[in-house]
Symmetry: C2
Subunit: 356 residues, 2 copies
């Protein structure tokens, strides 16, 4: 079969690599950047570079539109215009109502793989980028059943888990678990910078809670302005809800109501655990806290020891002290057995370790 | 010299270890938990266990009160009552106005070391816990100059950087860089759990931005309710400011004002960089993003390779894909030289790596 990929960055390039390797598909690519297109060809993400979108789409059974959200509607509409009657067109944008609402064509199926947000560019493309990842699809009443089934099977064979969802629910969930955290991170850094300036004191070590909460602050505007704007009503609704929740906490603080604060905090602990556990196949999530000297080789030694014993680390974070000489490493492990084994192994290395 | 430590947990125990090791001080401890007191004695954090606060304080030149914020005022007042005229009493609580306001005694100096929040209990105590850490001190117009100088020198010899600050500025800064991030993390998890329940869809992999932003959600109520309550007006002011900032973003979204959103996001990027760089002695902070297979041994190999070359990792975070088979590792390095060397070494290992 022949696929077309319009926009050969990290996501488009990874689709190409996976389709060529796993589906034995022919892949024609197009990108408005001739440099990116040449890089995709060299990388093997496409086997043919087209001179135009129309040329790329010609003869394709499926078209993946993998361009930034801001140009998505126009590019997908052009792809529909150029494509044959029995060709399915899908996209990978991180908001879905705008594009799905604009394109009421039976051949269009909105899509969004939850993968690969950390880097960009075809040089980071990988054929296994989508392995096990949720890949949302947003079929509507207009959608051709035959073409939906085709794109579903394609995505499944690329390694992902295709999951049908309506566009509004999709955008609301993403506003909650992705766009709002970015907004709050921005608010936190701006506010902390202002508070510290006003205090006229040297900036202190802000500590791990602040660093974690603000890692995504000021993420690339060339990507994020489009995402914010294309999902702006769902995001505004999430902001409204966050404001209402903040007002509730504020009222409890103003009244000196410690028991409401405790209940609210305990409920958050339960919600966090529920959210973390739900996304892990391997069982409940366990967190260990290890005190270590923060010098070259120590993390390596611990990681190697766990590796030798076949214990995999699901997630980790290092919280150094102010002078970077010592620190606490948080390790997350899936399943009690792995956690107990890790605790034993790390303890044998002589580092103080405790369940968090 | 003889010190007394009232409350022998992580902080009190670490003060004891450092004082015995570095100041050759005699250290008497008291704790309302006889178990904790016995553990501190075994650990070597104290050389004498007292049967009462009064007994502990007798003959001491300095008293460190290291109990939870909720009981701090009462315990510090009792220590002042029992202590000699030429004894200095200090505390380690994470909010300062309440205790400083309640104790207008020339012998009391409020204190707060920015260290050790990740674990608790004397079993995690370390003599070098405070090395290089900012240790706030809050002298007032009442404070004895001689006794302030004594506690300043003591803290300096424990390894920390004593830094004078007024209690209100302290509480406002901590509300901004510590207490507000905890509140926002709680809001995020509660809201996401509600949104996902309402959507009636399987909980998706929430992704790295959400995980980072919510790591501290639902932190132990036995510690945090006291902190929230003791700093409730400063925290309420920070919540008000956050709400005002959220309303501004919301208005720009409602008006479809993309250029305001871009400016706001770019400013946050600048604020984040400024905050991160300020707390690192080793020069500007550089971030590398490395794509790696997420299996045992890989992180170890990379960390070992950097360690062998003498390149130290300031901070790291692992962002696995949904099925945990692959991931992106973010590495933070202080100074361009270390970053370039790390990029070279990681590249030679065959992992795609880029400046973030």
């Amino acid at each position: 079969m022949r696929l077309a990929i319009v926009g050969v960055g990290l996501i488009g390039g990874s689709i190409g690599l996976a389709a060529r390797e796993r589906l034995d598909a022919g892949v024609t690519g197009f990108d408005h950047s001739s440099e990116a297109l040449a890089a995709a060809r060299r990388r093997g993400a496409i086997d043919a570079a087209a001179g135009s979108l129309e040329e790329a789409v010609e003869g394709a059974e499926a078209v993946f539109v993998a361009v930034p959200v801001g140009t998505l509607c126009d590019v997908a509409a052009a792809a529909l215009e150029a494509a044959a009657e029995d060709c399915v067109i899908t996209d990978v944008g991180s908001t879905k109502r705008a594009v799905v609402g604009a394109l009421a064509d039976p051949r269009f199926v909105g899509g969004h793989p939850l993968a690969g947000a950390e880097t960009s560019g075809v040089e980071h493309a990988r054929s296994d980028l989508f392995d096990g990842a949720t890949w949302y699809l947003t079929p509507t009443g207009h959608t051709s059943g035959v073409l939906y089934e085709r794109v579903y099977r394609l995505i499944h064979r690329l390694g992902a888990k295709p999951t049908a969802i309506d566009p509004a629910t999709h955008d609301s969930i993403l506003a909650s678990v992705s766009h709002l955290p970015h907004v709050l991170a921005n608010v936190l850094v701006a506010q902390a910078a202002g508070t510290l300036d006003a205090g006229e004191v040297p900036l202190p070590a802000t500590g791990p809670s602040f660093r974690d909460a603000t890692r995504v602050a000021g993420a690339s505007s060339s990507i994020w302005t489009d995402i914010y704007m294309s999902n702006r009503d769902a995001l505004a609704a999430q902001i409204d809800e966050a404001i209402a929740r903040l007002n509730d906490v504020r009222a409890a603080l103003a009244q000196g109501d410690a028991s409401t604060i405790t209940d609210w905090n305990d409920a958050a602990a339960g919600d966090r655990r529920r959210l973390l556990e739900a996304q892990l196949a391997g069982g409940d999530l366990f967190e260990l806290r290890v005190s270590v000297p923060n010098r070259p080789g120590v993390i390596a030694r611990m990681a190697l020891e766990l590796a030798r014993a076949g214990v995999n680390i699901t997630d980790m974070a290092l919280y150094p002290t102010a002078d970077m000489s010592e620190g606490v490493v948080a390790l997350w492990l899936a399943g009690e057995e792995a956690a107990l084994r890790a605790q034993e192994l790390v303890g044998e290395l002589g580092f103080p370790v405790a369940r968090a």
